[in-house]
């Protein structure tokens, strides 16, 4: 029905020639834009509502004094549902340490949180379908659990700024009580807030995606970056690490790239590299972590994401 609508606008109202490239591009653009925004609204609302039940204070309590491994798994899962503003990464980190959350477990949380977020989930679901979405979430969890476990095993506590360990608050934080009506209200505000923040990125990205879809020949990239090329994954990840964008900007573009022959594993690895590691986040984390630990963190993430890329290219 939505396809018919996009069809109607393109070929009857704007009157482009059926089967023309421009028509193709416009139809793609209209169809994808409407679909994505509908999904964004519904899914972000539901996720926001779920998130209102997992404030960081509760997450901290759950992870406090958890054993490694179980703790890493829980932390990676809670990273998905716990809402936090990037600016509270520092108090959150200090709070976790104070509560006795092991360093590696804290990292599992910090890794999964930016990588698996509601916008990423919606865009993947809208453009690639539920299978790819499930694979991405699974892979993201794997990277977060594994990355945190390795950091925990390396005993890097000496590279955490000293003042973090000296901090003693001595009391539990209160969790503000919310009625269900409050939760609905917050979910609505959060949905509007996110839409306001990402709509332009998404429209531009779908526009670029539409252009690539219509004008770049199919299989254009297969030769350079297809499954056959063993360097495709590390190259994509190394390009992705310094790049920083939210999921909103990067996904519609990688969708179009995939259509042109980039393989699934390469695309997912690229996306993870872009979303999981970012300069602004590093600058914030520098306040609690010394440079060598940040370096180890980036190194472990890069290697793990490359491995995940190869894995998916091999099995998909």
């Amino acid at each position: 029905m939505l396809k018919d609508f996009a069809d109607y606008i393109t070929y009857n109202i704007i009157n482009l020639e059926y089967g023309s490239r421009l028509g193709d591009v416009l139809e793609f653009f209209i169809y994808e834009t409407i679909k994505i925004f509908f999904l964004l609204t519904v899914i972000i609302f539901v996720i926001s509502l779920i998130r209102s039940f997992f404030p960081p204070e509760k997450t901290k309590r759950i992870l406090s004094h958890k054993k490694e491994f179980i703790g890493n798994i829980l932390a990676a899962l809670l990273g998905i549902v716990t809402p936090f503003c990037s600016c509270s990464a520092v108090p959150l980190f200090i709070g976790f340490v104070e509560a006795g959350v092991p360093l590696g477990v804290t990292f599992s949380f910090l890794i999964s949180s930016p990588m698996i977020n509601e916008v990423a989930v919606v865009l993947l679901f809208g453009l690639f379908g539920w299978k790819v979405t499930a694979i991405y979430i699974g892979a993201g969890l794997l990277v977060a659990i594994f990355g945190g476990l390795v950091i925990g095993k390396l005993k890097l506590e000496k590279w955490v700024e000293e003042y973090v360990y000296k901090f003693h608050n001595g009391h539990e934080y209160e969790i503000i009580k919310q009625t269900f009506k409050d939760r609905l209200q917050y979910a609505k505000m959060n949905t509007l807030d996110i839409l306001k923040r990402v709509w332009l990125f998404i429209v531009i990205a779908i526009g670029i995606g539409g252009f690539i879809h219509g004008y770049v020949p199919q299989d254009f990239l297969t030769h350079y970056a297809g499954k056959g090329n063993v360097f495709a994954v590390p190259a994509a990840v190394l390009i992705g690490v310094p790049l920083y964008s939210n999921a909103a900007g990067v996904i519609p573009i990688v969708y179009a790239l995939m259509e042109k022959g980039l393989s699934m594993g390469t695309v997912l690895a690229f996306m993870m590299a872009v979303t999981a590691l970012s300069l602004p986040e590093m600058i914030i984390l520098r306040k609690v972590l010394k440079v060598p630990l940040l370096g180890v963190f980036v190194g472990i993430m890069t290697v793990t994401i490359i491995a995940v890329g190869y894995l998916f290219n091999a099995i998909l």
Partner: protein, 80 residues
């Protein structure tokens, strides 16, 4: 009335401060709004910023932010 806005200085925290000042103005109450950036001071109340503290009581913390009406309501709860 003593109102504190907790946040290290990110856009969300600035927005929270604006909202709070606007709410105080519209309510026409006599209140001292203070922005708290010191991490140790913030962590006396919460670990998720931005936070809103009215007369020493934590009324909001973290994302998503409340809207103007909600901020007014949170302040008024402590005013009587």
């Amino acid at each position: 009335m003593e109102i504190k806005v907790l946040g290290p200085g990110c856009p969300n925290c600035q927005k929270m401060e604006e909202l709070t000042r606007k709410a105080v103005e519209q309510l026409g109450i006599n209140a001292n709004v203070e922005k708290v950036k010191d991490i140790v001071e913030i962590m006396k109340y919460t670990m998720s910023t931005p936070g809103l503290v009215v007369n020493g009581k934590l009324k909001h913390s973290g994302k998503p932010l409340p809207n103007l009406e909600k901020v007014k309501e949170l302040i008024q709860q402590e005013s009587d």
